[in-house]
């Protein structure tokens, strides 16, 4: 219960919750960019629905952040009024949508991560985070079923689809290491039983991702480079551009609700 938390814990849970909201809203927006751009109508609907799940997830996290902050900042504030330096999402979420193969490969890597992450978050000692995880994991399982099937179809499809899927895997791979990093806040939350120790997820994630990539006859890249910084607010150049588009209506009409 929020009322039982001391000020320090409340602040830490707030920051942790905002990060989870940032992850969800950023990838949700990236997927939503496919709306009316997908290769065919059914896929357009499917991607829009996946995006909606993520944006709903972000609303649950930001809604909880609103309650924790208790200082007048509403969920819309967290999404629309913060700059890229204040966003603390993992970098993999903000990468531009690329081509369809890029989007589906990123989705696979993120869905497998979310699966294992949420499985742990369900046992959080924080009731609200646990409840959100219980809701979100059902959707993530469904997302994974789809991204798994798509990656198989792309990897085992035409020469062109295979080349594109492989290029996506190679281009994104270096951004996956950040998923299993733990900074001071995350360590504190994991120790308190509120958050998840992401390092413990890496083995399962690697095994699952590798088996799917091999099934799709795609090559698992060597770990030759890695990038991180999202949790500290250091982003790729793409996040600022994305937020510019995502936030422009709200910034032009502050306080607007719809």
């Amino acid at each position: 219960m929020v009322s039982d938390m001391n000020e320090e814990t409340k602040q830490a849970v707030l920051n942790y919750t905002i990060r989870l909201g940032d992850d969800a809203v950023v990838i949700g927006h990236r997927i939503a960019e496919w709306c009316r751009n997908a290769p065919f109508l059914e896929e357009d609907l499917a991607l829009s629905n996946v995006a909606l799940d993520f944006i709903g997830r972000a609303r649950m996290f930001y809604g909880y952040a609103e309650e924790l902050a208790d200082d007048g900042r509403k969920e819309d504030y967290f999404a629309y009024m913060r700059d890229h330096r204040e966003y603390q999402n993992l970098l993999i979420m903000e990468l531009p949508r690329g081509d369809f193969a890029y989007t589906m490969v990123r989705q696979l890597l993120v869905d497998v991560f979310n699966l294992y992450y949420l499985e742990q978050l369900i046992s959080s000692t924080d009731e609200t985070l646990a409840a959100i995880a219980g809701k979100a994991i059902k959707e993530t399982r469904y997302h994974l079923r789809r991204s798994h099937e798509w990656v198989l179809r792309l990897g085992l499809g035409t020469d062109e689809s295979k080349i594109r899927a492989q290029k996506a895997v190679d281009d994104i791979w270096g951004f996956t290491h950040e998923l299993f990093d733990l900074d001071e806040l995350e360590q504190q939350m994991a120790d308190a039983g509120i958050g998840v120790d992401n390092r413990s997820l890496q083995q399962d994630w690697s095994a699952k991702v590798k088996s799917i990539l091999e099934e799709a006859s795609l090559i698992v890249p060597e770990d030759s480079w890695k990038v991180k910084g999202g949790r500290e607010g250091y982003h790729t150049e793409y996040l600022g551009q994305m937020l510019n588009e995502m936030q422009c209506v709200h910034r032009a009409n502050p306080g607007l609700e719809w």
């Binding site: 059914e42 896929e43 609907l45 499917a46 629905n49 996946v50 909606l52 799940d53 993520f54 944006i55 709903g56 997830r57 609303r59 649950m60 009731e127 609200t128 646990a130 409840a131 959100i132 219980g134 809701k135 979100a136 059902k138 959707e139 469904y142 079923r145 789809r146």
Partner: protein, 181 residues
């Protein structure tokens, strides 16, 4: 409705529990009143049928109505809350609040058997019970138009997050399947 034999014989435990809660409630008239509130996207379903209405309680003099979202991003929740508000107000209730609960998470097993029958009549294949499905689709989905079990999935998502798009291979009609989660 005979063709529903694949779905109807079993009632999910989750639904029975909710039904008991309603039947044992001292606020039966409120539960009955809220049967008027329907899902804005599938108007044949009441929020009771859908499993969104989970509890009606009284705290001191205040009515507390609990609802749970189907999907995280379901845009219908705001409309549903507003509709509950209007129905209660129109019936003369003023002292009430609507609470959104996330746990236990909504699942299709919470839907009423009547709701599933109404979906079928409306042309949407109702969700199978979770115990009848192993990670997806062991059972074929029945075409709500001609009753054939010879159907295929076209897309994992249909016109809303809660539906998938299927097609009947006998009558060729495409149809929505209210996917089970």
């Amino acid at each position: 409705m005979v063709a529903m034999s694949q779905v109807l014989p079993l009632v999910a435990a989750a639904y029975s529990e909710r039904l008991t809660r309603r039947n044992n409630s001292e606020l039966t008239q409120i539960w009955d009143l809220l049967d008027q509130v329907t899902d804005p996207e599938i108007p044949v379903l009441s929020i009771w049928d859908l499993g969104v209405l989970t509890q009606v309680e009284k705290q001191q003099e205040k009515l507390l109505i609990s609802i749970t979202p189907t999907y995280s991003g379901c845009p219908a929740m705001d409309t549903i809350a507003a509709d509950i508000s209007s129905v209660l107000t129109a019936a003369g209730y003023q002292n009430f609040s609507i609470k959104r609960v996330l746990a236990p998470a909504w699942k299709t097993d919470l839907m009423s058997p009547e709701g599933k029958a109404k979906l079928h009549q409306y042309g949407i294949a109702p969700p199978l019970l979770n115990e009848n499905c192993c990670s997806g689709q062991c059972f074929s989905i029945e075409c709500p138009h001609c009753g054939s079990l010879n159907t295929k999935t076209i897309s994992e998502f249909g016109s809303t997050a809660c539906k998938a798009l299927h097609q009947c291979l006998d009558c060729n009609e495409p149809f929505d399947y209210f996917k089970n989660i």
